[in-house]
Symmetry: C2
Subunit: 287 residues, 2 copies
């Protein structure tokens, strides 16, 4: 499992073109030579290739409706069974909650000719997963659909038939870099149970929790992206912790609500980060 | 309470300049003539003016650390009591959870001269609230701090001393328009209690819930932004509903978990939207 493979890859700006899938793989943009979905197992999808596509997929340049993988026998384009909510389909769904960007690559066989390159492949920048859901496909079996939106305020991919592609600028994001494998490992250590209220959320066999930084990342808090600065929380307790409804004492008892933080033996929470949160909590809760 | 006052105002692109606060008010960019914070009560902040500032505010163009209002006697710049978590300070904090953009206007008296106009005021585009927290200010009293980040991939405001300001393009966002007063009214109708599990979250006297669309807004679902298509949910039940862990029958009993949806007499949930969700739920939960 490689680290930090989400987002922009140095040296390959938006608009980069490739002749073959093997070049895309060598550039580190996508893990595979054939599959559409590239992913970090249990974490999320980092890249998709659009080359072909399901009969009612849609692509308007900045918005894509993408169909998951599976449900077809090898070398068949006909769906003869339900697509499973596993592997690529499962990991792509996680981007809705982890907010990680997905690199989109369009190939010359992409169904939407307007935005496909005339030959080879083109990297078209970062997209975010707005939503996913299951529906009955044209052949009567379940397909998983994913709707993606291009990073706000970036250019559309170049349309065919225009002589000169639109100018593209290199852009940078304001988001602090996170290593998504840190919360993933910690979530598994806690079996996705909230360290505050012990609840474990699950949807269709897939558990869900939030890896919350105790001292926030980025300005102004400048907390580090390490497991010693992280708690596994359900969304409700995440909100309450974040909004200073409660805090945590040095002995891990809760302040402002009953109970104790559950802390595993191998999770060495740094007390300095807890104290930073507690200081803000104490000032916030003065009447 | 006017509607849809968040975000871009037609006719006043980023970089628009104004001589006086009254012109800013007349343009519909900001509600007040003196206050820094413009807001829709109970919903969020739509605009702030930076003109002066607290001693350790920060402004690097794309990131702003802003201090809330109050804590000072009239016409004094010295903080002599704790800033309350009320009015502007409270409503500005809500942007962290509602995700609404904040118009930022810099005046010539703004402490950070690099990004302030030489005279008058300048509208510098949309910023989002990353975080807020309380701390002890330089005078020993509580201040509320707000950290904002400019919309991703937009230009920095023009810096002084450059002959020509950087070119600015009109940009559009991909987000579907929402009317934030609809969920606010509905939340108050339910006293911020989750319609599924009845929990009511509260932090420092401020309740919190999510106004969730049953049939999603925007592509591909194209659900409408009306209260008949909305549920008031806690973050946990919002995740579970959204991820198809459960759905709702026509008689409002829950499917996939025990219990019934709480529905107020004046909340006429449209069954077509419930059925749309249920159909997706049923396909998603096939093994």
């Amino acid at each position: 499992m490689s680290e930090n493979k989400f987002g922009k890859i140095e040296g390959f700006p938006e608009g980069s073109v490739f002749e073959k899938r093997s070049e895309i793989k060598a550039a580190g943009l996508h893990n595979h030579l054939v599959n559409g979905i590239s992913r970090v197992a249990g974490v999320g999808c980092d890249c998709i290739v659009l080359n072909g596509g399901y009969i009612d997929d849609q692509d308007s340049g900045d918005k894509i409706l993408y169909t998951g993988e599976g449900g077809r026998k090898k070398n068949s384009t006909k769906h003869t069974f339900d697509q499973p909510f596993l592997r690529g389909n499962l990991d792509l769904s996680k981007n809705k909650y982890n907010g990680l960007p997905i690199r989109v690559i369009r190939g010359s066989k992409h169904f939407e000719k307007k935005y496909s390159p005339i030959s080879g492949y083109r990297y078209d920048g970062l997209y975010y997963l707005d939503d996913y859901y299951a529906e009955e496909g044209a052949h009567g079996h379940r397909i998983w659909r994913y709707s993606l939106t291009k990073e706000v305020n970036t250019d559309l991919p170049p349309a065919r038939g225009k002589d000169t592609p639109a100018p593209r600028r290199e852009r940078t994001t304001n988001q602090p870099q996170r290593n998504p494998t840190i919360p993933q490992t910690l979530k598994m250590d806690y079996d996705f149970k909230c360290q505050v209220c012990d609840i474990r959320l699950e949807a269709n066999g897939v558990p869900h929790a939030i890896g919350a930084h105790i001292k926030g990342l980025g300005t102004p808090h400048e907390g580090p992206d390490i497991r010693e600065n992280m708690l596994i929380l359900c969304p409700n307790c995440h909100y309450l912790f974040d909004a200073f409804a409660f805090s945590i004492a040095d002995d891990f008892s809760l302040i402002g609500r009953d109970g104790n933080l559950t802390v595993n033996r191998n999770h060495n929470i740094e007390l300095d980060f807890i104290r930073y949160h507690r200081e803000k909590f104490e000032i916030a809760s003065r009447i």
